[in-house]
C-alpha cells in the first residue's frame, strides 16, 4: 500500500519540472524543443507581417507581404537571373575575404605574438579600422576605376583591418603555459608559433572568420550599389529606381538566406573540426 503512494509522490516533481524548464535560467533545452521554438517564432513573425498588410494596417506598396516577396523572388530566379547575380556576389565576397584572411592571419599572429610588431602596426590599423568604408569609395574609384578591383578593394578594406586585430587578440589569449611547454620541449620560436600557438588559437580564429565573413556582405552591397552591373547590390539598387519594393525585399531576403546557410554550414564545420572542445 505504501509503495504506490511513494511512487506518486516521487513522480509529481518531475511532472512539474517539465514546463518550468523553458524559463529556467541556463537550463538545458532538448534539440527538438529548441528547433520547434525557433521555427514557431519565425512563422509567427511572418504571419503577423502578412496579416498586417492584408488587414490594411500598412501600405502594401511600401511593405509587401511575405507571400508577394516570395513569389517575386521565384519570378526573379526564373526571369532575371537572380541566382547568377547571387553567385557573382558570393564570388566577390569569398574572393575579397580570402585575400583578407591570407594577409590578416600571419600579420595578426605576429602583432599578437611580438610586442614590437604590435606597437608598430596597431596605431595604423586602429586608425584605418575606424574609417567608414563608404567614405573611401571615392578614393577607391580614383585608384581602381569602377571595375572588379574597386569592389574587391572595398570588401578587403572592410574586413582586413578588423580581422587583423581579432587575430592579434586570439594570439594574445594563447595560454602562456602552452608556449613555455613548447619551448621546454625543444621547439624553436617558429615551431612554437605553427605547432602550438596557431593550433591553440584555431577554434577562436575560426569563429572570428565566421563573424567577419558576415561583415563582408555589408560592404558588398555598398560596393555593388556604387558601381556595378551585376550582383545582388545591383539588383536591389536597380529595383529601387522603379519603386519595386517587392524586388528590393526579395534581393535582401536572398542575402539573408545566403548568410543563414553559410553560417549554419560554418557552425557545423566548427563542431566537426573542434570535436575536442
Amino acid at each position: 500500500m505504501g509503495r504506490p503512494v511513494a511512487r506518486a509522490a516521487m513522480s509529481r516533481p518531475s511532472r512539474r519540472r517539465t514546463p518550468s524548464r523553458l524559463f529556467a535560467f541556463r537550463a538545458d533545452l532538448p534539440r527538438r524543443t529548441s528547433a520547434a521554438i525557433a521555427i514557431g517564432s519565425s512563422l509567427t513573425m511572418l504571419a503577423l507581417w502578412e496579416l498586417a498588410v492584408r488587414a490594411g494596417w500598412v501600405n502594401g506598396t511600401f511593405l509587401p507581404p511575405p507571400s508577394i516577396v516570395l513569389a517575386t523572388l521565384w519570378r526573379m530566379v526564373q526571369d532575371q537571373h537572380l541566382l547568377w547575380h547571387a553567385g557573382i556576389s558570393t564570388l566577390r565576397v569569398w574572393g575579397a575575404f580570402t585575400l583578407a584572411v591570407v594577409l590578416a592571419v600571419p600579420i595578426g599572429m605576429l602583432m599578437g605574438g611580438f610586442r614590437s610588431i604590435g606597437a608598430a602596426l596597431e596605431p595604423m590599423v586602429d586608425f584605418i579600422r575606424y574609417l567608414p568604408v563608404p567614405a573611401l569609395v571615392p578614393l577607391s574609384i580614383i585608384w581602381f576605376g569602377v571595375g572588379e578591383d574597386t569592389k574587391i578593394f572595398l570588401l578587403w578594406l572592410g574586413t582586413f583591418f578588423q580581422l587583423v586585430l581579432l587575430v592579434a587578440d586570439d594570439m594574445r589569449r594563447v595560454p602562456q603555459d602552452y608556449v613555455d611547454i613548447a619551448y621546454t620541449l625543444g621547439a624553436r620560436p617558429a615551431q612554437m608559433l605553427t605547432d602550438v600557438a596557431f593550433r591553440a588559437m584555431l577554434p577562436s580564429l575560426f569563429d572570428n572568420l565566421r563573424v567577419t565573413l558576415g561583415w563582408c556582405w555589408t560592404y558588398l552591397i555598398i560596393a555593388e550599389i556604387v558601381a556595378a552591373d551585376s550582383g545582388l547590390g545591383f539588383v536591389i539598387w536597380a529595383a529601387r529606381r522603379y519603386m519595386n519594393t517587392a524586388e528590393v525585399m526579395a534581393g535582401v531576403v536572398t542575402i539573408g538566406l545566403i548568410g543563414l546557410v553559410t553560417d549554419q554550414l560554418l557552425r557545423r564545420l566548427h563542431k566537426r573540426l573542434f570535436r575536442y572542445l
Partner: protein, 258 residues
C-alpha cells in the same frame, strides 16, 4: 658528496622596482637529486624555477648546468606546470608523442617504443586515443608529465603539478613521480606549498621566506627517510615528526624571522 650539477650562482631578480628574489640566491643541486622549494604562495620560488628553465632571466647572477651557463629554454630542462597543460587539440597519445616532436635523433620505430613505454608508465595506455577534455584532471596532469618525460629531459621543473588534484590522486602521482625519478635518474626541482607533499617527495627541502624569496632553511630529508618512499612511510613516526618540525619552520618563515 657528489659534484654540483644545477647551480644557482648569485641570483637576484628585480621586477617593477621590487625584489622578487632577494640578492643573492645561491643553491647547488646534485645530479639525480629531488629538491623541493617550499614556501608561501607568491614568494618568488616559481620565478627561480622558471629561471632555471630559461623562461625568465635573472637580474644578476647566472644559472649553470654541469658548469655550462643555461641559455634559452630547451629540451634538457623540461617543465610541468600547475595548470592542466595537456594540449586539448591532441589525443593523449599525440600529446605524449609531442614531447618527441623535436627529437630528430630518434627513429620513428624508437619513438613508438618510447611512446608506449611512457603511456604505460603513467597508466594511460587505455586512454591513448582519448582527447584530454574526456579524462580527469589527474589524468591530464599525467599526460603532461609523460610528455615531458618522453622528451628525455634530464632536469624536470615542476610547478605545483599536483596542486589542483584530490588527495587520493595526489598521493598516487607522488608515488609514481618518486619512482620515476629513482628509476630514470632525473634531477627535479619541485615547487609546492604543501608541507606533507614536500617531505614525502624530497631529498632536500628548501624553505623560502615570503617575498622577496630567500632560502631560510635547508632540510636534508634524504638522510632521514632514505631514497625509498612508500605509502606506509606516511604513517611512520619519523615522517610525522619531520612534517611537524618543517611546518613550524614554514609558519615561522611566513612571519619572516630570518
Amino acid at each position: 658528496m657528489a659534484a654540483p650539477y644545477l647551480v644557482f650562482d648569485g641570483i637576484a631578480k628585480r621586477f617593477g622596482g621590487l625584489d622578487v628574489v632577494a640578492p643573492t640566491f645561491d643553491l647547488a643541486i646534485r645530479r639525480n637529486e629531488f629538491v623541493v622549494f617550499l614556501g608561501p604562495s607568491g614568494c618568488g620560488k616559481t620565478t627561480l624555477m622558471r629561471m632555471a628553465g630559461g623562461l625568465d632571466t635573472p637580474s644578476a647572477g647566472r644559472i649553470t648546468v654541469d658548469g655550462e651557463p643555461t641559455g634559452r629554454p630547451d629540451r634538457d630542462r623540461g617543465m610541468v606546470c600547475q595548470s592542466y597543460s595537456a594540449f586539448p587539440w591532441l589525443t593523449v597519445a599525440q600529446n605524449v608523442a609531442f614531447g618527441m616532436r623535436y627529437r630528430f635523433d630518434l627513429s620513428p620505430a624508437r619513438k613508438r617504443e618510447r611512446l608506449d613505454h611512457y603511456l604505460q608508465l603513467v597508466g594511460l595506455a587505455d586512454f591513448a586515443d582519448t582527447y584530454p577534455n574526456r579524462v580527469s584532471g589527474g589524468m591530464r596532469q599525467r599526460v603532461a608529465i609523460a610528455r615531458t618525460l618522453a622528451a628525455g629531459s634530464e632536469i624536470l621543473l615542476m610547478d605545483e603539478p599536483f596542486g589542483a588534484l584530490d588527495a587520493l590522486r595526489r598521493e598516487g602521482l607522488q608515488l609514481e613521480l618518486r619512482r620515476i625519478q629513482q628509476h630514470d635518474a632525473k634531477t627535479i626541482i619541485f615547487v609546492t606549498h604543501d608541507v606533507e607533499e614536500a617531505v614525502f617527495l624530497a631529498d632536500r627541502i628548501i624553505v623560502f621566506s615570503k617575498r622577496p624569496a630567500r632560502n631560510l632553511h635547508e632540510i636534508d630529508v634524504g638522510a632521514l627517510l632514505g631514497p625509498e618512499r612508500t605509502i606506509e612511510l606516511r604513517d611512520s613516526e619519523t615522517f610525522f615528526r619531520l612534517r611537524t618540525e618543517i611546518l613550524r619552520l614554514v609558519r615561522a618563515s611566513a612571519g619572516d624571522e630570518p
